[in-house]
Symmetry: C2
């Protein structure tokens, strides 16, 4: 049996792994990673499918553990390569992926499973275990082959009092442990966090306090997939006699799905259209909207910028019942400040207990190790520091250090006679989605964008007499994002003249070479005089 | 008496205020603000000096409360406008600003003051109060005029057991309170944080634990101005028989200043040159370096990237004894992950108690309000949410709400008969330092850079026959940061032809107008076909 980790090791996102036995494959999850500051202009980042491309026909199925973007966002791109791959998941997960695929005009072949189910995908015996997470209907998956058993947790935590009563099934884990787990692939996100993730239910007092004391409208923002969090808000609104409207495309869509499938319980008449709320007294109004991560184009961001039909004002209460994903802090704080400036009282993670994580902390992971007693451990779903922290937990629970694999994307692990060993590495680079292009934006593209971002661009147009290699007239300088005035380029023309003279002297000809000489001369001029490094594009036209 | 707040209200940075009486001025602080993601390429941001520019001769002095960049970083730019302004501050603060001004080739006129001192700057009676902060030798300043008394805290907290024994002098605050504080300008940074900021001394166990257990080298990173934090590290190193070297320009310079002035106590033989450590056994080595905020060019960032002569490896311990400034998280986490990948054990704020804030939390601020009982309160040093939170604390301590001013940069407040009132607003926009230019980069510049960052740039060269307004040959497309292949611009030439034909039809002439028509046509083509929005620069050359 062979396991290849295509994503999620060394990053929080684009989770994907492949289990192979006897030439056949099962894929577990296929998510996207969101770009960071040093990857400007990129929409999302995919796992690299290169190692699968010649073997698409060998894939028995893709198992989706839950419906978050970092686990399902890459599926449309995989299905574009082979549309009839069987997609296996729980009811809500399948509903979310089907809605997403519809936007890509793909109708997937699906298999619905529930916790406790087993399903045979060719040679693979799949068994599904209920896990609790920040989206309902999460599943861990056990994959049985004659060579051993792999257990992949997906994302999970062990809330003992979840709103839907559906706890991570430790009795099921225990049965698998007694049978013998050969390789335990386990969520590392919160492995550095000591203790236990508190219960979703523990947020009730703070949410209730907001509803009990807010003098005017209440505007709640949260992840559009966090059904339990939204349920808590709905319950509080109902109890305090307020009406609720959903605002923002993904919020409206997801809550519709969750309600239709019974994951969201909405008392009759509680939820109304946003338009209807306009005529109601402020103290009867609740809006639940997108934008909790500071996205400028989502509903909350537009409200903060005064760019939304719903205008936030004096006395309104904004409840950010959500996490602060690293990298988004500045944007979120910016929105909190703008809402505060508009007179709103903003309640957020920083000043009230209105968020808990969706991932198991160190204390919970330790329980898992002790219940499962796995032979080999492969921490997944985390940056390096998280994977290392999780590995240390495994070792502290008695798993031999040489049986704990801290890996990287693309790592190939073979399981032979109950021993997991790294045997190779496949391509696992970052595949950038950039507008309509997939995999065409390169590190060079991003490097150029970073240069453009820092210094702007100068285009130099030089009319050159080809017989003498001299300027036919002074060069023209066009700029974008580069600070200049009427005299900025005084002296640059002389530099271009000198560069051309030197080129002529050295017998350099050809437009490309002259353009290079000119752009180098202008770059140096700007660097020396202004300590700036804009991108310089020279264009030579022969006169 | 009039107070104008030129910076620090609505942002953490570029702190600056001006007190005016009888036509004369005292400036308190003059700091820089560091740019955010939406201000690419900007080095630092200054307060706007416009309202002072005609009145430079009226300035009696500038008082610097402490030596942090967000309080002194703008001084070189102010002194460039009038070099002989008297600079008043404590010993360490003056040493830091003098070293900074030396880099700008300015020798300032200075006045050294100590806690408890009074100093007459023209009509202004200045009195200095010891405050405790994350840099030694901080001062609050009371400014007396016949119209009333203003107390500006600078940055402070109320550590009751500071390493240097120099606590925020509440007996002095009490005397001022009994005399009567007409306007209390007070640090808001941690006003949202409940309770009390714990003591710097409380970090000792975690720091000691690192030194007691680290098997090989210890590499510590912290702010280069955090003398007390560095002192704790030095003490631990000494106690555990390690030697220490400072690494990084600002760390070496500042610790030299602090040692020479007696703010840092270094046991004989403890600190050695970094080169000397190379020949010592790893378990005897401590390096204290810059880069705790994830700056890629600072020592720690270069070590993480394997780009520094000091190579971090298996068994090394890295101690990040520093804060996580919002906006820097991703960069810092990136460095932690890279160091972890190199085999280092990274101890940081997230997994050990190795940092405390330098600012007073809500509980401490409440003490101040009750001791001072100020007539009017002006929260300073904070984003909107911090200013509002601080205002609420003042009100909760009995300051009438109408005497608490939540203001903005540029606000002008008059104090008449003990009542502070907003009477106007002066220019207080963001003044960008961009390479050698000051105040020339505009919001348009930044907008263009953001566009370039997201989509790259396409330069279109069109040779146009001026008599027919038609292309003399197919246009050329040059790109930077824009994803393309050999066929990307197929069809674009036709769009340019059409645009020129339409221009000719409508009688549009002139190179500028044709360039606009072409760039619009190409932008639309790219947008429609690739859903991208690069910057398009068209250049028309008449053939």
């Amino acid at each position: 049996m062979r396991v290849t980790t295509l994503g999620g090791l060394g990053e929080i996102g684009r989770n994907m792994s492949v289990v192979e036995y006897d030439g056949r494959l099962v894929v577990v999850d296929c998510g996207v990673l969101f770009p960071e500051d040093h990857q400007p202009g990129i929409d999302v980042i995919l796992p690299d499918f290169t190692s699968l491309r010649d073997r698409l026909g060998d894939i028995e199925a893709i198992v989706l553990t839950h419906g978050h973007e970092d686990h399902i966002g890459g599926v449309p791109y995989l299905l574009k390569e082979r549309p009839d791959i069987l997609v296996i998941g729980s009811e809500l997960t399948l509903a979310f992926i089907t809605a997403k695929l519809k936007e890509h005009r793909i109708t997937p072949r699906t298999q619905h499973v529930e916790a406790g189910d087993t399903y045979h995908a060719g040679v693979f015996g799949l068994e599904f275990v209920a896990v609790n997470h920040s989206i309902p209907d999460g599943l861990a998956v056990a994959i049985r082959t004659p060579a051993g058993l792999v257990l992949n947790t997906g994302d999970f935590k062990m809330d003992q009092f979840p709103l839907d009563g559906r706890i991570t099934d430790l009795r099921h884990f225990a049965r698998l442990g007694e049978e013998g787990v050969d390789l335990f692939m386990v969520d590392s996100t919160n492995a550095e966090v000591p203790g236990f993730t508190t219960s979703e239910r523990d947020l009730a007092p703070a949410i209730d306090h907001v509803f009990a004391t807010a003098p005017r409208r209440i505007i709640v923002s949260s992840f559009a997939s966090h059904v339990h969090r939204i349920q808590q808000v709905l319950d509080a609104a109902h109890q305090h006699g307020r009406k609720v409207a959903f605002v923002g495309r993904s919020m409206v869509r997801n809550m519709g799905i969750a309600r239709d499938l019974g994951y969201l319980t909405i008392p009759h008449g509680l939820v109304v259209d946003a338009k209807k709320l306009e005529s109601m007294p402020d103290q009867k109004v609740t809006l639940i909207c997108t934008g909790s991560q500071g996205e400028p184009m989502a509903a909350l961001g537009r409200m903060a910028n005064g760019d939304h039909q719903i205008s936030v004002g004096e006395g309104d209460t904004v409840l950010l019942a959500s996490s602060l994903i690293p990298g988004n802090e500045s944007a979120i704080y910016g929105i909190i400040n703008k809402l505060t400036d508009r007179g709103a009282n903003v309640v957020h993670k920083g000043n009230a207990k209105v968020h808990v994580s969706g991932h198991a902390s160190a204390g919970e992971l330790v329980y898992c190790y002790n219940i499962l007693r796995p032979r080999n451990v492969l921490p997944i779903h985390g940056e390096s520091k998280h994977l290392h922290a999780n590995a240390q937990l495994a070792v502290s629970c008695g798993v031999p250090a040489e049986r704990v694999i801290v890996g990287r994307d693309g790592m190939v692990v073979d399981l032979v006679d109950g021993v997991a060993t790294i045997v190779g590495q496949v391509e696992a680079g970052l595949v950038y989605v950039d507008g309509e292009t997939v995999g065409k934006a390169t590190e060079d593209t991003l490097h150029e964008r970073r240069l453009l971002r820092e210094g702007g661009v100068i285009t130099v147009l030089a009319l050159v007499d080809p017989t003498t290699t001299t300027l036919a007239e002074p060069p023209e300088f066009l700029t974008r994002g580069f600070v200049h005035d009427d005299h900025t380029f005084d002296g640059a023309s002389a530099e271009v003249t000198t560069a051309l003279a030197r080129a002529a002297e050295q017998g350099v000809t050809g437009i490309d070479a002259l353009e290079q000489a000119i752009s180098r001369a202008v770059s140096r001029f700007i660097q020396r005089r202004y300590r700036r490094e804009p991108v310089v594009i020279a264009i030579v036209v022969e006169s």
